[in-house]
């Protein structure tokens, strides 16, 4: 193998030394090329355990077959290499930390470079236009990556220190830009490669690609924002001042996992504005359609009872409706002060709205106020006495006084009123009753009533004997009485007289018709 190696190495060097035009012409250089490629194949074999070839079968195979073998070996290697390159592009420190791995990585890088260059040379000889171009593009991209890495590590040693890395700054800026344009920074390079692969391999599945792109766009939109937010929220010391081994291992794992995920989810390149707008619109449409199909929020459902809405949900909603009633007055200091001012003014004016007591009706009728005439009476005293006597003796004959007339009129009026009231209040109305008038029947001879002639002339009496006499028991004449009976009569008379005298003690002077007046003789002298 060492001889082969040596020859292989020499072959490589020889190849490198030859000029490009020589490749075009079919010549002995092909032998050299085959040796070199076989040598390289052997070198790369340990990194690719899955390949079916132990050795590059060169003899008797044409260029196409050799190329296919190389391709078979290279494909898995390329993807892993890309991952590594990306990782190292982000944190170049890891290259040194990893130790063995780092050396290998650097070797790999070189190998990759050489491999690429070899590939390019092979491709040039095969002359397949598409592949050439793509190979060029791949090379360019990887070169760019390489250059970036080199630049980042080498140039800015003066400014950079433990805290500040220009590379990190640039990465941050690029991430921001990617965020703005809707692509995830992490996946950018891989995405580009993937897209190219898709274009190359599956021309028929453009629709699928589109869908994938859309989904990826969605994913990128949704995921990117969240990831960005998460990144900002969960900034830790370690992010700024270097991580530990755990973190890097995690990241490696994550990256490997992400790779597979990305391979499935990714699919979009930078979209044009029209496409972006269209995508946004479609998302909006989908949202609105979904909202229409779902049941409405309870506030939009018209009349709602408490059972149909969630508990205490009315407290959260700001209910606003017009109140038709005036609100209750809030009693502030000013209100109280104004009230008190009003009261004070009313007190000063003494203007109150009290209850006025109605004047009550007198319970007793007023006493008959006798009218006192000031003027001299027309009648003489004797005439007054005469009238009184006449009234006592013959009541019917006497002229009536003023008060009597008033009384009569009043009684007549009252009787009429009573009649009317009775007719109002009695349901069973009685006919007009006979008004009994009290007329005094006096024992006056009938002729006296009819005639103007004096009383003493006629003898005929109006009253019947039994109406005159109101006695009882045996009636005896004076001559028939015995002595005891006479005494008894006298005693009875005396008793009666005494009783009467006790009743009215005042005797009028003129009634005294006895012969001996009580007046003193002295009065006669005057």
């Amino acid at each position: 193998m060492s001889i082969a190696k040596a020859s292989g190495f020499e072959a490589l060097e020889k190849l490198m030394s030859t000029e490009p035009p020589v490749f075009l012409a079919p010549s002995s250089i092909s032998e050299v090329a085959r040796t070199a490629s076989r040598y390289l194949f052997e070198k790369l074999k340990p990194f690719n355990p899955k390949s079916p070839f132990d050795q590059l079968l060169v003899d008797g195979f044409d260029a196409e077959q050799i190329w296919q073998q190389i391709d078979l070996q290279c494909q898995p290697l390329l993807s892993s290499l890309r991952q590594d390159v990306k990782r190292f592009a982000q944190n170049p420190k890891e290259i040194r930390k990893l130790g063995n791995l780092a050396l290998k990585v650097s070797h790999e890088d070189d190998d990759v470079d050489e491999m690429d260059m070899d590939d390019d040379e092979l491709e040039a000889t095969e002359s397949e236009g598409d592949e050439e171009e793509e190979g060029d593009e791949e090379e360019e991209e990887e070169d760019d990556v390489e250059e970036d890495e080199e630049e980042k590590s080498g140039d800015h040693e003066g400014i950079e220190d433990k805290f500040f890395k220009i590379k990190e700054l640039e990465e941050f800026l690029e991430e921001g830009e990617a965020e703005e344009y809707g692509l995830d920074y992490k996946n950018k390079k891989g995405v580009a490669k993937r897209k190219k692969q898709n274009l190359r391999d599956d021309d028929d599945d453009e629709e699928d690609e589109d869908e994938e792109e859309d989904d990826d766009e969605f994913g990128a939109f949704a995921g990117g924002d969240d990831e960005e937010a998460d990144k900002l929220g969960k900034a830790r010391y370690d992010d700024f001042f270097g991580g530990k081994k755990k973190e890097t291992k995690m990241k490696l794992k994550d990256l490997s996992e992400d790779d597979e995920a990305e391979l499935e989810n990714q699919g979009d390149v930078k979209l044009s504005t029209h496409e972006k707008d269209r995508i946004k619109l479609q998302s909006k449409i989908e949202q609105m359609e979904k909202a229409n199909l779902d049941p409405k929020h309870w506030t939009m459902q018209g009349e709602i009872t408490a059972a149909k809405r969630p508990k205490n949900s009315a407290l959260e909603v700001d209910l606003d409706f017009e109140h038709n009633t005036r609100p209750a007055p809030v009693i502030t200091e000013e209100v109280t002060a104004s009230l008190e001012d009003l009261i004070k003014s009313r007190i000063i004016e003494a203007r109150f709205d009290d209850v006025q007591r109605a004047p009550s009706m007198p319970t007793k009728a007023k006493r008959e106020a006798k009218e006192m005439d000031d003027s001299k009476s027309k009648k003489g005293l004797a005439e007054v006495y005469e009238d009184e006597y006449v009234r006592q003796a013959n009541p019917a004959f006497a002229p009536t006084t003023f008060s009597d007339e008033l009384k009569k009129e009043a009684s007549i009026l009252f009787k009429r009123l009573c009649l009317k009231l009775d007719s109002l209040s009695h349901f069973h109305f009685t006919p007009k009753p006979v008004i009994e008038e009290m007329s005094i029947q006096t024992n006056v001879p009938a002729i006296a009533m009819e005639e103007v002639a004096p009383v003493a002339v006629s003898d005929a009496a109006m009253l019947a004997p039994e109406e005159i006499f109101s006695g009882k028991g045996d009636i005896k004449d004076e001559s028939e009485l015995t002595q005891e009976e006479r005494k008894r009569r006298r005693a009875k008379k005396k008793r009666k007289f005494k009783a009467e005298s006790a009743k009215d003690p005042v005797k009028k002077a003129r009634d005294d018709t006895t012969e001996n007046p009580k007046t003193v003789t002295g009065s006669e002298e005057r």
């Binding site: 009633t325 005036r326 009693i331």
Partner: protein
């Protein structure tokens, strides 16, 4: 229109008996029947008088026209020519009492001014302690009043006992979780009932302890009614006025009912002449303070469910905010 049943037996001196006379009832039973019949008769009279009001109104209008024509010296309108002589005679006989057309509403308070009002205060069922305290305060605020426990009495029972004991007004107080929120003033001999809602109630117990706040004078107070301008306002003022008796001229206590956009403020003050001359007055607020909001007036007592409503609040009308029923 006339009562269809005959009157109680005691008033009639007829010989024949009434058709519905029950043979030999007990004394108590017969008294009850009499009371019942009396009430029925009174109510029928009231309805009859109410019916006559329409005619009375018409007559009054005619008399007014004739009076005006006579005063101004204009010829009497032709439609009244036939009745003119009779009406003129009536006009001459009228005095200030009969000249005004009477309505059944006025009859309720016709006799109220003769005697001092006698008030019965009580609460709704199962009153809380704050409500009882508030009722006690109202007892001091309204002179000549009495508070009774509600227990489990029915409203009709309360009204019956009040009527028989010659109370003039019954006041019921209602509450919501300790805060008084309703007041019903019912005038007793079939009088009107006014229903109020209470707001912003501040009781004497809330302000400070018994010792700190001191005693309240129970003098018959002067009354102030402010801004009761409409007819409904006058009616409410009447109802509230007749709950109080007529005071002395030099009374120191003042009760104020002030109306502001249909909310009536009740205030209870005691005043003293200040030092700075006759124009200065020191007011000291005493007693509970609350806002009344009238929501119903019924032409009957509290127990009469079928009584006619004179006025009821309409808060859900679109123009409710613009209309003011009591004042302004």
């Amino acid at each position: 229109m006339f009562p269809s049943k005959p009157f109680p037996k005691t008033l009639i001196r007829h010989q024949h008996q009434t058709s519905s006379f029950i043979a030999s009832p007990t004394l108590k039973h017969s008294r009850k029947i009499k009371m019942l019949r009396r009430n029925i008769r009174l109510r029928k009279e009231y309805l009859y008088r109410k019916n006559l009001e329409g005619d009375e109104r018409v007559q009054y209008e005619k008399k007014m026209k004739i009076r005006e024509a006579l005063q101004e010296g204009k010829p009497i309108p032709t439609e009244l020519r036939n009745e003119e002589a009779r009406l003129r005679q009536e006009i001459d006989l009228e005095d200030q009492n009969t000249a005004v057309p009477r309505s059944h509403i006025d009859d309720e308070y016709a006799n109220a001014t003769e005697n001092d009002p006698k008030i019965l205060l009580t609460t709704s069922r199962n009153p809380s302690a704050p409500l009882i305290r508030f009722t006690k305060e109202l007892k001091f605020a309204f002179p000549n009043s009495q508070r009774i426990n509600r227990g489990s009495q029915v409203i009709s029972e309360i009204i019956e006992t009040a009527r028989s004991h010659d109370f003039t007004d019954v006041i019921l107080v209602h509450e919501h979780r300790g805060v008084p929120d309703g007041l019903i003033i019912s005038h007793l001999p079939f009088g009107p009932t006014a229903y109020f809602g209470l707001l912003n109630v501040v009781t004497r117990h809330d302000i400070s302890t018994k010792k700190a706040i001191g005693k309240m004078p129970e003098q018959y107070p002067h009354l102030i009614f402010n801004n009761f301008t409409t007819q409904m306002g006058q009616r409410v003022a009447n109802v509230l006025k007749h709950v109080f008796p007529a005071p002395k001229v030099d009374a120191r206590r003042i009760v104020t009912f002030s109306n502001e956009s249909d909310y009536i403020s009740f205030r209870n003050h005691v005043y003293d002449k200040g030092e700075g001359g006759p124009k200065s007055i020191e007011l000291k607020e005493v007693g509970p303070r609350f806002e009344l909001r009238l929501y119903q007036v019924k032409l009957g007592t509290v127990e009469q469910n079928e009584a006619e409503t004179e006025w009821v609040i309409r808060p859900y009308m679109n123009t409710a905010k613009k209309r003011k029923f009591i004042g302004e």
